[in-house]
Amino acid sequence: MTDFDYAPALESRSIVTIESEYGHFINGEFVKGANHFPTINPSNEEVLSQISLGGAQDIDRAVASARVAFESTWSKMPGKERGKYLYRIARIMQERSREFAVLESLDNGKPIRESRDIDIPLACAHFFYHAGWADKLEFAGVGSSPRPLGVAGQIIPWNFPLLMLAWKIAPALAAGNTVVLKPAETTSLTALLFAQVCQQAELPAGVVNIVTGDGRTGSALVDHPGIDKIAFTGSTQVGKAIARAIAPTKKKATLELGGKAANIVFDDAPVDECVEGIVNGIFFNQGHVCCAGSRLIVQESIAEEIVSQLKVRMSKIRVGDPLDKNTDLGAINSAEQLSKITALTKSGEDEGAMRWSPECALPKKGFWFAPTVFTGVTQAHRIAQEEIFGPVLSVLTFRTPQEAIEKANNTPYGLSAGVWSEKGSRIHWASQQLKAGVIWANTFNKFDPTSPFGGYKESGWGREGGSHGLTAYLKSAEEGGNNE
């Protein structure tokens, strides 16, 4: 051996038990579904389990049980008591974090390093943070006696299954709402394990209900008259459909939609850390990140150096088995997503951008895509405009700071952005000009439950996290409503 070949270091999957079939979690119990569909491991296409396909009846029962729980117990319970349940859930999740991490990597395809070090700890942190809010709601900024909205319908995506569940459920419960949550079709397993945690924590029946299924299940939830609020994270296309569907109703909504974030690199950026940030920005979670730094906008004078160092760094990215502790880039979540990424990258080539990937052997089975960078990209290219949601970076250049900002804002999205410079005044100036909900300076893709997250323009409505996110589940006493 002349090279340092890391021997496989597989996390054991024996820690987690996967049932052959799952039902829905309604009113504190698992109930058998009528029809099922398979959920697979995207890294090898192995069928992991059969998931129930929820229909209008299942949604109906779940909403009814959430309504009863809301009116009879949860909204009446003192905040301090609700906080105890949230703390208990957070602690159990921490205790079972290896189970959650392995299951998430199996079902989603993300590397165990990320599920273990990022997804699961952050999900726990969201419960801990919101547990602390439960008895302090009068300080959230919606008047001296804020009230919950009622029953929240929550629809989450497949890119961070458990983390998005935590973002949705923790604030809703802290504020005194009950929920009906629909996980993404391809990644239901950690939500169903979370249902077990709710049982273990002896959470009152009906406070959390989980109905699995596909888009039809989600749309039944959105259309249900017993829902007071919809919280959705997913594509802008579906977000718009939801907005249309609830427009004639009194339902409130928060929508976390797509993004095409600009990562702006000025000529005085710290090169190595910047390259690292570019890599984290676009290759974290296979680029399945709505706030991914998918457009690198780099000052022309250092573009060559940055791109060449980026290529050196990209050749060190370890693509492979998500359960291997040394894997950096895992599997693409589904065949459908893979074909979307493939089609968009093809358009990049067709439109004349230069495509580059390091040499890397991709596994034969499963859904895989090598880390890819396009140079010579212009604003007119599709790959500079459309969200690829995969490990594909587009590199554009600029000459003046003003031009960087104009290019960065020249998109229908506005979820996040990054600024790289050693000059503090320039960072402040740039972040004031950028139309994006989150701006990272000399870092990228950092998350914290205390920090609000959300977008401008077609990236969504409202914020999640921090007191901003909490108020999206509260109303002032003056607002009144059907739950008084």
């Binding site: 340092f4 890391y6 496989p8 270091a9 710290p270 690292e276 502790k325 040394n326």
Partner: protein, 315 residues
Amino acid sequence: MEFYGLVDGTEISLRKFLQTLSGVDQIGAEARAAMLATRSIKTSAKNWAIDLAISMVDLTTLEGADTPGKVRALCNKAVRPDSTDSSVPSVGAICVYNDMVAIAREHLDSIGGSHVPVAAVSTAFPSGRASMAVKIQDTQDALDAGATEIDMVIDRGAFLSGQFQVVFDEIAKIRTLCGTKAHLKVILETGELVTYDNVRTASFIAMLAGADFIKTSTGKVSPAATPPVVLVMLEAVRDFHQLTNHKIGVKAAGGIRTTKDAIKQLVLVNETVGSQWLSPSLFRIGASALLNDLLMQRMKARDGFYPSPSYVSID
């Protein structure tokens, strides 16, 4: 070409060059090092890394209490780290004060260890606070006694007061003195430079002035060879190679006591400069206690259980 054609020996050219270096973001550098520390090195990869690490150890004794007996004992250990297993490689070098060089060289040669070089710490190690005449004499003594590696310290006082050319000139002079007789390792003493920006700047000054190796620390100041410091130095070496096509080695010294620490360093090397640097000619680990931990891990891999420390020699 002198100084790789990048500077001409004048202060203005050195300052001009240093201005072209990008800064180092502390949080980013520490995060990268922490991420690489999560690499899980097991089974065959671990066994390979242990033997490589043994061959990279600069087995060191730098005490006021050093005696010829102690140095000879260390030489025995350097040549055959495990007397019960001849497949264990010799270490990279023996590292001693200059009055012990001749004793070490003579003893190594007499026990079949002529392949193990002797390194001498030099230039008023560890503080570097002496006149240039003394530093030159110090180095000359070590060379005359048979040292083939010189571990010099930079003048941190000069560096921190912004006299980069003074630092450069000292290194260049010692470089000339070493000629082709000895490899020059330049100790930055990163624990006194404190910031990663300083570490990067000092690395480049040393490389430009003719260092064969840049070395983190004397071992007398803490913190020493922390993973982010070594990362920043490896990045400097990588950039210097891209610039000049010249490979400079890195020596991580101080605070590396366990096999786990050593393997983390090898991962840093592998993922920053690449596998070409995974050789004792380009990466060394300055240590004393580390060697025994490596040997015990090696026995564990061979026998399936950890030996009692009594099975490993204390020198």
